[in-house]
Amino acid sequence: MKIAFTLNGAAVETDAHPGARLVDVLRMLGLMGTKYGCGTGECGACVVLVDGKPMNSCLILAPHIEGHEVITIEGIGTPLNPHPIQEEFVKAGAVQCGFCTPGMILAAYALLMNTPDPTQEEIVSALDGNLCRCTGYVKIVEAVHAAARRLRGDIDDES
């Protein structure tokens, strides 16, 4: 069936099986940043923003996205022009195998868009749906703190 939605700011119309997962449709469209992990909404590797909110794309039926706005990791930064959150993840060493990173960054992005000065507890809560088996989370939380400071303009871009 045909599905029309907004993907990273551009109108998209595509064909999809009515029982397909959104993550599969996104990857079929060439956006490989969204990962398929557990398929049950537990790991968060597939998190994308739907109408600005982080959601598990492995549990969204593709037709349910009709008329909505989806943002994937490719929609917030590029290798040549990364988003400050992406840069801070790299600086902090919050990226190891990288499989969870797109979901982590989008969850952090949604938090910082609504809460520019989050507490430690708010960051941990916002990332509660994203599992990382490599880093132990400390560096990830530090990276989100650093990105928040930078997005607020509290520190220089090059610091």
Partner: protein, 281 residues
């Protein structure tokens, strides 16, 4: 990667309740009524051939009208939590706490209130809290049944195959102190045991409900505040606590029956103490 619903041939999005009901009359038994769809991750439904989404029925609303809280079935947990928090109304502590303790942030952005009640499982947190309030469930926008009966008989039996759960109504207490507690293996785990207790100061009664240990959340007891105070002051094991021994436990590989009963009693006693002392309003 496998499709979430591999055998679905039609995905229908009716724009009115009448249209939805007409479609349900003609669709096969293998039709699934879909809210947020989160339960699909836990319960594979390989037999589903048709999906009827309630997303365009205008059921995404929360109205606080006098002492009635009316929640559309397609309202997400995240929206409900935001509204209740910003409204600042007291006496709803158990409801907001049960939402905060449900799953994870991305899932709460997707889970619908109607989906939790219509597809209720042993671990559902919100119904445990709602059972301690006067909560009714509206079916097809007209028929009203108590949440107690939905939980007791099972949603499929009460709602019926050709009907849609459309709204949840909670009678707001004029004064209440309530709490919800849950124990799992970690912060986002499904409940091994969950307890909600509501001290209805306006009615001088205390209502307790439990989840996790039972196949579906259940109201455990309703007793007078004086009974609870008396039992506490006497230091004896109160009579109303014996109800916990009557519940039919579901199996749970995470903990023994004895442990779960003991845990639930402890959660109940702590929660009763909490609401007697005015706990979270």
């Amino acid at each position: 990667m496998a499709h979430l619903l591999p055998h679905v041939t039609e995905f229908l999005v009716p724009s009115s309740l009448d249209e939805a009901r007409s479609l349900l009359e003609t669709l096969p038994e293998t039709t699934m009524i879909l809210g947020g769809g989160v339960s699909l991750g836990m319960i594979p439904r390989k037999r589903v051939t048709h999906v009827l989404s309630i997303s365009a029925l205008g059921l995404d609303y929360i109205n606080i009208d006098g002492d009635d809280l009316r929640i559309g079935a397609a309202t997400t947990l995240d929206s409900l939590e935001d509204t209740l928090t910003s409204d600042g109304r007291s006496g709803l502590g158990a409801i907001t706490e049960s939402i905060k303790r449900t799953a994870t942030t991305p899932l709460r952005n997707r889970i619908t209130v109607g989906g939790i009640l219509a597809g209720v499982g042993p671990w559902a947190d919100l119904p445990v809290a709602l059972l301690t309030y006067e909560t009714t469930v509206i079916i097809d926008g007209a028929r009203s049944v108590t949440l107690d009966s939905v939980m007791e008989k099972g949603p499929r039996h009460v709602i019926g195959n050709h009907s849609i759960l459309t709204e949840i109504r909670v009678k707001l207490p004029s004064k209440a102190f309530s709490t919800f507690v849950k124990v799992g293996r970690n912060a986002t785990d499904l409940a091994i045991s969950s307890v909600a207790v509501n001290n209805r100061c306006d009615k001088k009664t205390i209502i307790a409900a439990v989840g996790g240990i039972v196949p579906r959340p259940v109201k455990l007891f309703q007793t007078s505040v004086n009974d609870v105070r008396q039992a506490r002051d006497d230091g004896a094991s109160p009579r109303f606590m014996n109800h916990i021994n009557d519940v039919v436990l579901r199996r749970d590989h995470r903990a023994s029956d004895e442990y779960r009963i003991h845990l639930t009693k402890r959660l109940l006693m702590d929660s009763l103490e909490h609401v007697l002392n005015g706990g979270k309003a």
